[in-house]
Amino acid sequence: MCLFFYFRDRKEWADLEPVPQDDGPNPVVKIAYSEKFTDVFDMFRALLKNDEKSERAFALTAEAIELNAANYTVWHYRRVLLQALDKDLREEMKYITAIIEDQPKNYQVWHHRRMVVEWLNDPSEELQFVAEILSQDAKNYHAWQHRQWVMQEYKLWDGELEYVEELLEEDVRNNSAWNQRHFVISHTRGYSDSAILEREVQYTLKQIKKAPHNESAWNYLNGILQDGGLSSYPGLLEQVTELQDTCSSPYLTAFLVDLYEDALETNSSSYDQQETLNKALELCKLLAEEKDTIRREYWNYVSRSLQNTEYITDMLQV
């Protein structure tokens, strides 16, 4: 434990009266680390009270952030000082990088980074930086938000699909990466391009073959086909049914139920309605009783809904 020269003892700070937090008496004995904390934050409060805009105030914000990087008021003050003192923002970016590397899940520092990038109007390091943070935790929600903001704000779409594929190679169950895939494509070519849609369907099925028990891949497949409808997508039923032997999972079964449900709801002429209903109900029963019992209430609900659909269809045919 290194010695800390308390601010209250430093002669360059002698003009300031430290402002203690006013919620209780100070105890007689305190551990050294919390002494430092009190010292720094008492000084911080003094600076705030005097609205001081100086280099020493700027230096103190760094001390305060080191002790408690979640204190948003300190970050605010630091931003005010960055502008008032016309500080070097590129130096600030280095500082921010160090803090994020140490505390990658802190809201305040990520927002601070965004503000400085905006002030600099320079996103050139951002994608590389975020990729580095994601290499340590590929699901860091803050990192992904920052990345999306940078890409949208500065129109930096090139190479992102390749990056997403790399991440999915490393972990095909990374839900953030699947979300990013959707994000990139939605903002570039889009899914209404049938060549793109087919490419995505085949890509997803390929990933499913590699790791069948993958919620994200199945959600993605379902999601991109919602508009067109699962049952009318050419060859899809065959491809998914083929996977049943080698790649079975509750997700596959659930997907088939969704597909059959779509066939019934759209009263698709390519499907024998009665047979489709029977198959769907059978799968719901399998899921409720065996494969996904924890969600039996959901599967029973789906069964009931399917039967109501059939009933309505019947009614209209009478």
Binding site: V19, S34, N68, K139, N179, Y301
Partner: protein, 331 residues
């Protein structure tokens, strides 16, 4: 290839009965030692910390053990000239802590100790061109803040001051291909954000815009074999998701899609028999945040030892009845 499901294993000796008295003692004593390091470190969220503590005490029928006068004075000292309220004295105002303060004052039926009109102005002033809300003057946008804004205004009876259509439009633009919601348009679906968005849509009377079956499915998929709930696919369970996920399901009328018995046993396993309080998962350190959401989750599951909790506001139902607030729920 083996299927490794990311989950915890509940040990047989984990707590399996509800230790309400211990939790009340834990919360009552929390923060009484003001020099406690963890307490000092969390000063930047103090207003929310007080809201968590008071709410869980009220749900357990123990609100009287908390220091009402001290807290009300504290809140008064946290309202700034702009009308916004800060987490603690000497901190800057923020929408998060403005909501927490209004929730606390609602619990105590003392809303008029602060300048209500100025709070309303503050909230209104944070709405952006696209309908979203910033958290404070520094401009961070997040659907959490859309929720904070409408929840605050609803508790004050002043929802009409904002541009409702745009506010709704922004939240709906955060709806994803899986039926869930993220923090901004395009952001990954996340149970915490989903709670905020469904809560928002409930308050604003727009729940019909949700794809309840699709979202309900995504939400009940959060339940893992241990019975606990995670916040997004392939993540570990955490007791606070017992709130974010469960409350969302309640709001959209599909809470029965969760295996209640299994969830209850997970939540109970997160208790600490010695210190009282709940941790994020069995065996970890407890804190007031997880204690509130563990107890609130149990309330939603129907535990009769706990007061009914409102799934939109995470406040006791009787408080909202007194105020006359009954946000829509789907059935």
């Amino acid at each position: 290839m083996g299927t490794q499901v990311k989950d915890v294993v509940i040990k047989p000796e984990a707590p399996n009965t509800l230790l309400l008295d211990k939790h009340a003692d834990y919360i009552a004593a929390y923060g009484s030692k003001k020099d406690d390091y963890e307490y000092t470190l969390s000063e930047y969220l103090r207003m929310s910390g007080i809201y968590w503590g008071l709410t869980v005490m009220d749900l357990m029928g123990q609100l009287s053990r908390m220091n009402r006068e001290e807290i009300i004075e504290f809140i008064k000292s946290c309202q700034h000239d702009c009308g916004g309220i800060s987490a603690s004295t000497g901190h800057d105002p923020h929408l998060l802590y403005t909501l927490s303060a209004v929730q606390i004052l609602s619990l105590y039926d003392s809303i008029n100790v602060i300048d209500v009109d100025k709070v309303v102005d503050y909230v209104k002033g944070l709405q952006q061109e696209d309908g979203s809300f910033a958290g404070d003057k520094w401009g961070e946008i997040d659907t959490r803040f859309s929720f904070c804004a409408v929840a605050t205004l609803a508790l004050l009876g002043k929802l009409d001051v904002i541009n409702m259509d745009k506010a709704v439009g922004f939240v709906l633009s955060c709806m994803n291909f899986d039926g869930g919601f993220g923090c901004r348009p395009g952001s990954e679906s996340h149970a915490g954000q989903i709670y905020c968005c469904t809560g928002f849509l409930s308050i604003t009377g727009q729940l019909h815009q949700v794809n309840a079956d699709l979202l309900g499915w995504w939400l009940c998929e959060r339940q893992l074999p241990s019975g606990g709930l995670n916040g997004r696919p392939e993540k570990l369970p955490d007791v606070c998701y017992s709130w974010w996920v469960l409350a969302s399901l309640k709001i959209i009328g599909r809470i029965h899609w969760i295996d209640k018995a299994k969830l209850r046993s997970f939540i109970l396993a997160c208790q600490d028999e010695e210190t009282g309080g709940f941790a994020d998962r069995p065996g970890d350190m407890v804190d007031p945040f997880h204690t509130l959401f563990g107890v609130a989750g149990l309330s939603l599951l129907g535990d009769e030892q706990i007061k009914p909790v409102n799934p939109v506001f995470c406040m006791p139902e009787d408080v909202l009845q007194r105020i006359g607030l009954q946000p829509d729920l789907l059935n």
